[in-house]
Structures are given as C-alpha cells and as structure tokens.
Amino acid sequence: MPQMTMVEALNKALFELMAEDKNVLVMGEDVGQDEGVFRVTARLLKEFGPDRCIDTPLAEAAIVGTAVGLAIRGFRPVCEMQFDGFSYQAFHHTEGHMRRFRNRTRGRYTVPMVLRMPYGGGIRAIEHHSEAPEATYAHLGGLKVVMPSGPRNARALLRAAILDPDPVVFMEPKAAYRAFREEVPDEPETLPIGKGQVAREGKDVTLITYAAMVRPTLEAAEELEDDYGIDAEVLDLLSVSPMDTDLINASIRKTGRAVVVHEAPRHCGVGGEIIARIVEDSLMYLEAPIKRVTGYDTIIPFFANERTWMPDVGKVVKAAVETVRF
C-alpha cells in the first residue's frame, strides 16, 4: 500500500470514481488547468477532459445551483468550493435546493452531489480562508456532513460520498492536507457515512472530536497518559450529520467523563449537540461536567494570531485533566 497525503488520497478517490462512472463530474474554480489550489483535482482535466473536469467562472452560487440541475439530470457532480469562507456565497442553493429536491418532489428528483470544501485554520491563510462552518451545514436536514481526519478515511469517505444517493457536504481539513502520510490501499474502499471510530481506546475520559482536531487530540491523549497517568479514549466522529450517537454514548457509559474538541466557535457549535445527546441518553453515567475545547466565539483571527485561537494539544490536556480531577 502506497503512502499518501490526504490530498493524494482524495485525488485518488476522484480519479477512480471518474473512471468508473461517466456521470461523475468535477467542477469549480481552478479545478481544471490549475488542478485545484490544493491540487486535489490533479490530472483530472488531462485524463477526463474539459466536459468532465470543469473550470467554472467565479460564482459559487452558480457552481452549486447548476450542479443541482446536473444532478437532477442524473449526473453526480462533485463541486469544489475553493475555501470554506466562500461556500456562504452558495448557501441559498445548498439550503434552498440541494438539500430539498428529494423531499420537495417526494423522490421524483434527487440530488446525488458532493460539495467539497477545504475547511479550518492553521495554514496561515488570509481572512475568510479558515472557517469551520460544519454546524451551519449540519443544522440543515437533507444534507450529510462528512469530515475526514486522515488520508485513508478521507479517500474511503469521499468515495462513499460520491456514491451516496443524497447530497453530501464534504469538509476537508486543510491543515491535514499534507501534514502526514498514511497507507492507502490500492483497491477501492468505502466507509459508512454516519459511523464514527474509536481512534484510541481508553477508560478514564472520552475525548470526542473529528477531522482536523483528531491529530492534536490523539497527541493530547499520549501526553495525558505519559504525564498524568490518564487513559483517554479518543473518538473520531468522521461525520457530524448523521452523528454516531451510539458510539458516543457507549464510550461515555464506560468512562463517565468527556471533553469535546472542535475548531469551530463554541456557541451553537457541534459540541453542544454532542453534549445534548449524551445528556439525553447517558446523563446518569456522567461523573463530571463536559468541557468544550473549541474556537472562541470570535472571528478567527488573521493568521498571526490564529494559533492562539485554535484548540491545541495543551488546551485539550488541560480540559481533560480538569475533567478527570473534577
């Protein structure tokens, strides 16, 4: 199995699906000739031509809006938003049509499309390039919101997303695009959308996270073990809608304690939802309040200060120790 970065693994998934199914199209700004600003769409134009890998004019609403029309006609468009912050330009189509057509027409028309976007901070980009809008999308029924954490699951989940009969928002942690490599099997692989994974087993506290925050959280778990003798379990949700409530509750019932870690601002973020589900199903197992290690309720600072804003290993360690010592 070759070692790949997440960018390469995502590219592999796109390449394979485009080869397998003529209805799969890739479209967006600079995805063709330029191969995507992060190179996720490398080689696609060359291999599949300009009718399958489409450089569009600069208009996100039109990218999503026309993709809805293409999907109604049986295509499986995979749209790229160049950055998270510009997916808002298309929000009325994501909300108003992409997620609604199946329900609105009682299944007469469906929209099997994928809205890919890099998300999150940590790459010293300018304003609007470091947003984490997963809660905004997760609040919209009709969408699935998938958030891979590493090259292998990114590839398997993107494949699942493209094959999914319903629209998927696929948020790629740009901080993890090239940060590390993993073995990715040659043969196609999928993961079920809506199922999370235990990324590390433990018994003292459950650290619940996803996507970009999985790596620092795992690091924190190591530190917790080495320095504090705390045995943390780490859950990688992989999808925030649907959310793997069973996985979360099973772990909480074992550890009795939890910390939620995500990069998006705290207020009305995914963390609240996770905690609500724990309270609904496992309140009586809770030994301590659940802390949230998240971005603050500010706009993420321009990059000179973004690291201060983002959750990091130390913040997770601190919250976990406090939770265990409660």
């Binding site: 208009a59 609403a61 809006g65 026309t66 199946r102 609105r104 007469r108 029924g141 809506g194 959310m243």
Partner: protein
C-alpha cells in the same frame, strides 16, 4: 482607440405578431395548424378558469395563499408549445398555462397550493421542475439542466422562467453568464409583468428594457409582446431552435401584465391605480386570441367554444375532486429526506408516533420530585 464607440455584436430586437384586435402580421404569422390553435386556445382558457377556481377556493379556505396568473397565460403557453416532450420546462410560479400544456395534472397542481409536497412531485415522463419560490434561484438549476443536455450530447433544450423582479437577483446574472460561457441550450424567459409585488418595473432596474440585459452575457435578446401568443411562439421557436443547434442561450423579455393581485395575501390597491389595470384589459391575451380564432381564422364557432368550455370545466371539477380526496401521510416527512432515513430521523419519527398515537401521559398526579438539594 484613442476614443471611439465600443461595438457590441449582440442582436437586440423587438417583436409582435398579433395585435390587441386579433389582427395578425402576415409576414410574421407562424401559420399554426388549426388543430394546434384550438388546443392552445383550450389550454389558455382552461388556465384562466382554473386560476379563477383557485382564487375562489382560496377564499373558501380550501387551499392556502394563491398566486394568480390572470393575464399572463400567453407567454408560458407559447413557449411550452415550442418545446418537445423531452425538453425541459422550468417554471417560476406564474407559468400554469405552460404546465397544463406540458401535461401537469390539475389535481396535483392544486396540491401545491393546498400545502402538500406531492404538488411538487411532477408526473413521471414530464421533464419539468416544480413551482419555484426563491426568486430567480430556478435560473441556476435550469442552467444545470440545460447544460446536462449538452454534456450528454443530447439535443434537448431547457426553457426557464422568471419575473422582472427576478432579474435583480445575483442568481439571474450568474445563471445567464454560465449559460453563455458554456453555450448551454437554455431559453431564459422573463415575464415582465410590470410589478414585483408592489415595486414597479422602473424601480426594479434603470435599464430601458430587460431584453438588453442579454448584452452583459454576450448573447441575443428579444423583447416581445407577451400577451400575443403568436409572437411568443415565433420568438420562442427561434430561440429553441438555436439552442437545439448548439447556438447557446437567448434572453426573451415578454411584456405582460399581472391583472390580479400578487397573491391572495396582498392588496394591489395599495400600490397601483385602477386605471393602470383597466388600460391593460384590452390587451388581454385570451380575448385577443379568441378574436383571432373567431374573426380572423374563423375556426372558433359558438358550438366549438361551448364544447371546449364543457370539457374544460369537467376537467377542472375532476381535478378539484382528486385534490380534495388526497390523503395526507403525516410521517412522509421522515421518509423523504434521504433514500434511507438516518437513525436520528427514525428516533424522531418514533417520538412523533408515540405522541400522535398515545397523546398526553396519564394524569396520575406526580409525587413531589426530589429537590435538587436533596441530591447534591
């Protein structure tokens, strides 16, 4: 350069064929077969009567808020006439005439105004999209639908509609720009009915016409008398033929008038004069078409008219019956969000079922709950 006029090769035209008195411009007459003319007339009239019926039923509380299309029958009908069955028709919400022509069922149409998703379901085999609410957003998916034809190498065409108000939206602009760049087989029809709820056309845009907005996309634009079914057909036919041959999109501005209120929720007297409405009455597309058929073509006799009317009314009655016998599935909302409902949706459905089937909990008075202080 140094200083010169900037030449723009886009073609901008205006066109009308049938005047308000039912007289036709012989050179431009599309010369439709009598049969087609009578069928068009039937649909136009049926639209008028169904529209009236809906208004009436709204007043009786048998459907919800209703958006009438009186006076705007000719444009969507004329456009629909020029389409093939396998072409696509993307309405906004005032294009009933074309919907009926395309094969939409009255009963289903009424379901939409009656508050049922099934009103958006569209008959199998009809390549249309349901009524669109967010203004001009349909232009975008219409463009995607048109583009799909081109990408598949098919020669089908997509006709899309919006209002004069819709032209102010970014979606209108982006969709036409995409359509022009990709030469998608799209015909964009703007029903300029003079008003967007209470905003008159001249406060909607400072452009002297809507048709000239075509120039922004490097495509052709044409302004037509939207109450003249023959003119509509001539313009739409050309645009459809051009799109089918790979010539790309055309912008058609159809000048028409919304004779009734915006929807039953508003009172047009607040913003427009009776005289303005009166002045449009002689231009009515239905009476004009009737005159043409009865007086110019002489194919619409009293007898034929009677027959048509009887048929129309029976069909409407039948549609109303079907609508009113519709049975709501309260749980369908959970079953149509995804191909397979998520665990959370199943849980919520169970929650609702429990509530609807079992109602409130027993009233056995609850014993005093332990206080917080007892516990902590």
């Amino acid at each position: 350069m140094p200083r010169a006029k900037l030449e723009v090769p886009c073609k901008l035209e205006k066109l009308s064929v049938l005047d308000p008195d039912g007289k036709v411009d012989a050179k431009l007459d599309p010369k439709l077969p009598d049969n087609d003319l009578l069928k068009l007339y039937k649909t136009m009239w049926q639209t008028r009567l169904l529209d009236e019926r809906c208004l009436h039923m709204q007043r009786q509380g048998r459907i919800g808020t209703y958006g009438p299309c009186k006076g705007q029958e000719a444009t969507p009908l004329g456009v629909a006439y020029t389409l093939r069955k396998d072409d696509w028709y993307v309405p906004s919400y005032r294009e009933l005439a074309g919907c009926l022509w395309r094969g939409w069922k009255i009963g289903r149409y009424m379901l939409w105004w009656g508050g049922h998703e099934e009103g958006s379901q569209i008959e199998e085999g009809v390549n249309d999209t349901p009524l669109a609410v967010p203004i001009a957003s349909q232009c975008q998916y219409a463009m995607g639908i048109a583009w799909a034809s081109k990408l598949r190498g098919e020669d089908t065409v997509c006709a899309a509609f919006c209002g004069d108000g819709g032209t102010s939206q970014g979606d209108f602009h982006e969709a036409l720009n995409f359509a022009a760049v990709y030469k998608a087989p799209m015909v964009m029809v703007v029903q300029n009915n003079g008003w967007a709820i209470s905003l008159p056309r001249d406060k909607q845009t400072a452009a002297q016409s809507i048709a000239q907005k075509a120039v922004a996309y490097g495509i052709d634009g044409i302004q037509i008398d939207g109450n003249d079914i023959l003119g509509v057909i001539v313009a739409a036919r050309e645009a459809v033929a051009k799109a089918r041959k790979g010539g790309g999109p055309t912008l058609i501005e159809a000048i028409t008038y919304r004779m009734a209120m915006h929807t039953t929720a508003d009172d047009p007297k607040k913003y427009r004069s009776e005289e303005e409405v009166k002045a449009w009455e002689p231009k009515d597309p239905l009476t004009r078409f009737r005159k043409y058929l009865a007086q110019t073509k002489k194919i619409l006799t009293d007898k034929v008219e009677k027959e048509i009317e009887t048929q129309i009314r029976e069909e409407i009655d039948e549609g109303v019956r079907i609508y009113e016998s519709y049975e709501l599935d309260q749980y369908a909302m959970f079953h149509n969000m995804y191909e397979t409902p998520t665990p959370e949706l199943r849980r919520q459905e169970a929650e609702l079922r429990d509530y609807l089937e079992n109602g409130r909990p027993d009233e056995t008075p609850t014993e005093q709950s332990p206080t917080a202080s007892e516990r902590v």
